[in-house]
Subunit: 231 residues, 4 copies
């Protein structure tokens, strides 16, 4: 499978997820599992679909490691910070030491100026009902970031090193990385990040990843959803 710009899903105001490459599919999972019995299948059929469902239900997870998927992702730094807690993924990220960061930052839509409700351990979030107030905060976020980027660019113009000038940039600045992981690890990622407790801004990325994996290994991904994900 090769790079194809049609494989790209837009996320948030300036972000995206694109599938770059992959290795294996449902059949690779089947053949990982059949290895235990010294067998091998050459095509997916009902019996093999049944095997995948059995594996997921019984949490025999190792065969799901035999599928690999690689994405390119553009995302705000604070989202990247949560994402990179997943330690069995392989990352190559754009570096603010070596590249001037483009003036690209995330401003939440009006519906995403959220208020926090509930109590510790059971927080939930609702949009700010008062639209004019929400709009004020959107503009505030935008202006604060424009100001930070202006100061960043002023420092660069005066010869300050990129690695120092970037200190003032906000955590909603967009960064970009290539990320590769096996399907089991992507499932663990989705279990935590495409979940109601995850912050909205990472959840929409996880939804994009999930829809792409659904095409790559549909039987496995449906079993994943069916059996309650990897909680």
């Amino acid at each position: 499978m090769t790079d194809d710009s049609s494989n790209r899903v837009q996320v948030l105001d300036h972000g995206y997820v694109g599938l770059i490459d992959s290795m294996g599919d449902d059949l690779a999972i089947v053949n990982g599992a059949r290895q235990s019995f010294n067998e091998r299948s050459t095509e997916m059929d009902e019996r093999n679909a049944g095997l995948i469902n059995f594996l997921m239900r019984e949490k025999h997870t190792s065969p799901f490691e035999q599928v690999q998927a690689q994405f390119e992702v553009q995302l705000p730094i604070f989202v990247a910070r949560e994402w990179m807690r997943h330690r069995t993924q392989s990352f190559n990220e754009m570096s603010g030491r070596y590249t001037q960061l483009p003036r690209l930052f995330y401003v939440p839509g009006r519906d995403q100026i959220r208020e926090q409700k509930g109590k510790p351990g059971a927080y939930y979030y609702e949009r700010m009902e008062d639209t004019p107030r929400a709009e004020i905060h959107r503009i505030r976020i935008k202006n604060t970031c424009i100001h930070a980027f202006e100061e960043y660019e002023n420092m660069l113009r005066d010869g300050v090193a990129k690695e120092v000038a970037r200190l003032v940039l906000p955590v909603n600045t967009y960064t970009k990385f290539v990320v590769s992981a096996n399907l089991l690890n992507w499932m663990r990622f989705l279990s935590l990040r495409n979940h109601e407790h995850a912050q909205y801004e990472i959840r929409v990325y996880a939804e994009a990843i999930e829809s792409m994996l659904m095409q790559l290994a549909p039987v496995a991904m449906e079993a994943f959803v069916e059996y309650g994900r990897l909680r």
Copy 2:
């Protein structure tokens, strides 16, 4: 070994590294290695020191995994971002979703307003010689961050959720984490981060970690330095 505030080293303007706990020392490495020969030592002596030197010289690294060290670290977010690329460490970090971040951010000292020299693949950094200009940039960094924190606090006061309001905070905001790793992994961390190519701001943290590990497992750490680190 237990928490002791005297085990804390100040780093940068508001950061620190503190050793919280550890497991094992030079002798644990020796006994990891002696396991191959079905032997066990009860104290460090010249022969055992020689064994540790042999292990390091020949890069027989697995016995160094038998020592564990846990630190509490306060550090700017952009330093934490580099640190957390080390994927065999265990982290628990302060969360900007659940806690209001204190108005604590890193302002480089006058000597650390740096200019970038050299070319791709061989950059180096020098302090800005023109002191008044450097001072202007210091103040610029400080003021930009104060402004961002003011807007953050304004949003919080008006009921915006912490997880949204934090978007405007700069990447030099201080965060804090507990981190635990085995000695081999700490050595890999030091090989990359206490190195002339590392950014100054993470290098000073790596130096603090190195000095503390030097006390914990002196024979192993001296061998690590002696044999050119793990490059």
Copy 3:
């Protein structure tokens, strides 16, 4: 915590599990978790026990990585093979390349000459009811192993390298390793290995590990059992 021969539990006919060292306890888990809120506790109390139960119930597993435990284990090779599938553990094992393996192998007790029942995906095992037949198989296992060891020793006497002579040794030969892992990983190990689907011979080792961890971090381990383990 230091080595103490009283910390050793006998397993199977010639095996054992001994706790060598550890780092942290229930309080370290609490303080890993409290880090999110920029807080720290100095002693376990009801509120902290409640926090650990909450973490386990909600599968917020990362704070459990802040506890480490190191064991010395003597076990048959076929058990070690299953054990070492757990890839976040640190191992140092006795080597048959460098050490002559002592004539030590596992012979199942009469109750452990088992027959397999059920069907693929749902096997179970029952002891062979016919005691004299079971006894014949016990003796058969014993004699086959004695013969293999005799041939091994014959080859060694004639100058064959240890790494070649060992080829004939059976997979029930005892080996020995030091193993270190964090508590979350031990819980994952126990979820799979102290489980009715695990082979009896690894399950008894997992039970020994579980009883020792129960002393090290009782609140966490009880929560682990209470909330259905990490399945």
Copy 4:
């Protein structure tokens, strides 16, 4: 890339290594690295080859994780034991609990009945010069294994569970697994296993893997060899 029996290399008397699938090649490494500079290449050229050489020389290893290769391997258990110490690989192995193991075991060629020379830390191995004596040991190995398999099969015939009967099988019995890892990890594997200190029997497998990776990512693999491997 898909399974192709011509991709199979014979190793030892009954073993083999076959490339099953892969993801990425030299260009994927280049694009992992160029991500730092927010650039992307569409074909390999001299400049990109130069970049790969630079990455390897300076040990900037993370882009090499963007290539994945999956193999099927048939190998003696004692070789599998060393192989599976590599903890970032994904394995699915034939199970002696669920499958009757075929009567397939490794008998060293006459040149591989080795004697051990040298001293601890610097062993080396030479073939036993006395050919008739070497031949005696070959036959001894063969007969001991045939005897063990006969007893294994006797127990199976009498209804003993496979997981119990297998106890008597020697560590040179052939097993089989599917294994998947990224290129950086394969390089670490080769650095240790295609090395003069490695046991002959794993070294020949490592040579087979190396020759296949040489075809998959030739520029990276030549740089790996050129710059002294990952020691």
